[in-house]
Point group: C2
């Protein structure tokens, strides 16, 4: 009798088995550009997303319906979405912080949204002007109304490994936040290492705490920042635990590596290089992606921090 | 009956088990500085090595006795060694390309040397002016005389995963080169990804080919370059295979990340961050190491490419 007949997850047979295919959740246009000092013109953003779609990326987080006062870089959300060309099999999720944001997103015809929760008390207070417990009453009407409108909802859980005020975050606390988002209707949880302090062991520990708590690994995505150079090693650890959705940003957008702190996302190109080496399908044309990152770097006025982009662009 | 009684390697009991302690083989002063455009004054090199030793690094590859015509950056080898302060438990291996180099090394009183072999035909011809088979007759007298003088010999195997002319390199070919070095008297093999093309899977495959070919994992070190951002993920894969010696360079010295191609070594600071996260002992004081890399970056006139250095230096 095989593992499937026993009803066990396939992973149990071989704790180091890798998935055959991974979905790259490209966050460059949202998580990347919202942290860039340069405000990128809307037509450049539209071309950026179109190029990424033509390079084979199928999940492109396009923008955020946060109040323009807080993130002026993304104040053009409606305009951008109206300009995006449709490609078969490509989706453009958007971040939605509250019901006002949801109204705007629904009016713009979006089909996938994401909410942004905190795993820690302090970050909930600082980022959401709420608290760890109260954040769910913010999200509840957003998720409920979105689902009723046929819109899929991802739940970001930020500060999953540590935060600047509380230090190390207990996996059980993260799982508790994640499960509440799931109970409200989120179909996927993206586990964010917002300040880049995770290492492979803490990644494994958190994923194991989720799965032993009844959340299937197929509902979990990982979202790493490369602040301490650990993003790709953390991704490898997550893949070996069976994770099949990985967040990254084209060219490693999102930090400012030449101005002191490097807080960029994992670069999509470096991720693609790893997946190719591991024999994991992803559907992305690396050369087209590198061309896109080099082209965008020209608009941002600085080279990409992605090692793959730098190495291939130098050829 | 336990695994030990069966005479199996401990790793067989748990393919994901991590070593309790790792030796960091710090190559910044040799592999790093030989690739820097700036020629660093000998007194700065001596202070660099002294600072690294005081930060807790115990294996500091100091320089190379290659002909100064080929590597002018290291022409001060004798002068540098004479200036190095002795610390208990600290060794300063040097690279030795030939018998003339060995004469110089022995005259300088070194106790540990390394020879530099190629895993590919083309690189043997280009780098050693030899060929894959003939390189061993170059090394044989060097290794034999060194061992007779009580000097320990490490064997570098370069281009272990791919080279720019021959593409992918077969693990069996690398193992064949490594075994011949070992038969000649090398006590450790450092498996080098000279052009940075390895990924976790190819690392595992090579290590497995060595161990199934009778070379104990305790005699293997790994030497990764971060050209495509894979160095730390590759290190994680090697640690999970039981490797206990990892090469790295303080601050990621050795490439020129702001001039197109990034060919630097794995940064020691990023490695230390990983080891700390995995609970693996290493003996290094990270703050002292970061201070040293920031100090040296001032002499080189450019910031360190290490993500940990940039993040911690910005605090």
């Amino acid at each position: 009798m095989g593992v499937r007949e026993l009803g066990l997850p396939e992973r149990a047979a071989d704790p180091g088995a890798l998935p055959g295919r991974v979905t790259i959740w490209e966050v460059g246009a949202r998580d990347g550009l919202q942290n860039e000092k340069t405000v990128v013109p809307v037509e450049v953003k539209a071309e950026f997303l179109d190029r990424l779609a033509r390079a084979g990326l199928t999940t492109l987080e396009a923008t955020s319906f946060v109040h323009p006062k807080w993130v002026p870089q993304l104040a053009d959300a409606e305009d951008l979405l109206a300009r995006l060309p449709r490609h078969d099999g490509v989706r453009y999720p958007v971040l939605v912080p509250n019901e006002r944001g949801l109204d705007r997103a629904l009016a713009a015809g979006v089909t996938h949204i994401a909410v942004f929760a905190s795993a820690t008390e302090t970050f909930a207070r600082r980022n959401l002007n709420s608290d760890l417990d109260a954040q769910f009453s913010l999200f509840e009407p957003v998720i409920t109304r979105a689902r009723a409108a046929g819109v899929d909802v991802r739940g970001y859980v930020s500060m999953c490994f540590g935060d600047p005020w509380e230090g190390v975050v207990a996996p059980e606390q993260v799982v508790s936040v994640g499960r509440r988002l799931r109970d409200l209707g989120c179909t996927q949880l993206s586990l964010g290492d917002t300040i880049g302090v995770a290492t492979a062991s803490s990644v494994e520990r958190l994923l194991d705490t989720f799965t032993s708590g009844g959340v299937p690994v197929g509902e979990l995505a990982v979202h790493f920042h490369d602040t301490y150079g650990q993003a790709l090693a953390n991704t490898l650890a997550a893949l070996r635990r069976g994770v099949t959705t990985v967040d990254s940003s084209a060219g490693g957008l999102g930090g400012c590596p030449y101005a002191g702190s490097a807080t960029g996302n994992l670069a999509t190109e470096d991720l693609v290089w790893l997946l190719d080496g591991l024999g994991i399908a992803h559907g992305v044309d690396l050369d087209a992606l590198v061309d896109t990152s080099v082209w965008l770097a020209g608009h941002l006025g600085r080279p990409s921090p992605s090692r793959v982009v730098r190495a291939l662009a130098a050829r």
